[in-house]
Symmetry: C2
Subunit: 206 residues, 2 copies
């Protein structure tokens, strides 16, 4: 009965999300980012930007995705209005003071998973929010502890999941994340590619 | 080219999973557990067992799901063969030395989320593997840190997600897990209801 009454009166947050005063443009082709943003409850359209993902080798750790998220925002071709928010993001895997990018093939994927095996690494995701008159960039970091992976596990994963579009050559939400990860410290969704808790806070207070 | 060759020769792990010598029976009606077990790569059938979920109040923390996972296994009606493995599991939320069960309605759900708000709690999941001649029980624990939730967030979540089938009144894979969780320490999938890394290890060495 109480449930029913509550359904009739629209919750104030429900109203806030429905009447969100900005049009959101997700500047990313990643299906994982699209899925995560959708689950936050916002409406948005997808318009991937096309920036080359090179960066200066002096950049370290979180500096890399911050630079690339902003580079992706700057590559947006249309002029943003004041009531439009463009979201761009970049995720890197950082292990033993080195960045692991997307592997180009089986051999490189194998090498990356062998590096991550039995060790802790960090995942940094930076997000840039940009409108006609404002820009905010923030990042989150999570620690991931892989168990010692054996060769048949690495090969099985690469053959069946082909993670060549994924930083560090793995997806935390895929088979290798199920059987291979001892523990994480931080946000799971940040490892997937979007720090949703911070993003939500930044969007509703933009 | 190398990829193609690897596809032709079946990976040894692929073979091991395909030729797994046990028939797996998942004794749980939880769609989350079904999804997680499927992602591990095993074939199985679902036959929920029906045990009442009462336990003695002297039981604390991990002792509760261990007791309930074994109780669920013992409630299985058919006789298990040596080549059958029954999987049963139980998950509890443990906060300030108290267990939070499944909330029965909106008011209880609200009370639970108010308890979890702004605090760390632990999630324990115990799993029992039982065949005709062997039984193993193990558990995993994860820490979850909720931000301070406000009333409109709690009400929005309860109204839209009705988490009345979930221990502690929330799903880590739902909206409240996106916007409300500061960080976790441990396994994300254990919080969802199945410690998949340990389960995988126990199954392939059963």
């Amino acid at each position: 009965m109480l449930d029913f009454l509550f359904q009739l009166i629209m919750n104030s947050l429900e109203k806030k999300l429905k009447e969100f005063p900005f049009h959101i443009i997700l500047g990313s082709a990643s299906p994982r980012r699209q899925e995560l943003l959708k689950s936050l409850g916002f409406d948005f359209i997808v318009k991937p930007t096309h920036a080359d993902e090179s960066f200066h080798e002096n950049l370290k750790a979180e500096k890399i995705p911050i630079y690339l998220a902003e580079k992706k925002a700057n590559a947006f071709v249309d002029v943003l209005k004041e009531n439009e928010i463009l979201i761009t993001a970049d995720t890197i895997v950082w292990c033993e003071d080195k960045v692991l990018n997307k592997p180009t093939d089986f051999q490189e994927g194998k090498k990356m998973l062998e590096i991550l095996s039995g060790k802790m690494h960090e995942v940094f995701t930076a997000v840039c929010l940009k409108s006609g008159n404002k820009q905010i960039t923030f990042f989150d970091t999570s620690k991931v502890y892989f168990k010692k992976l054996n060769l048949e596990e690495i090969e099985y994963y690469l053959m069946n999941f082909k993670p060549y579009d994924k930083a560090g050559g793995y997806g935390v939400q895929e088979w290798i994340g199920y059987i291979g990860i001892e523990k994480i410290e931080g946000s799971f969704y940040n490892i997937m590619g979007l720090p949703v808790k911070q993003l939500y806070e930044q969007l509703i207070t933009f």
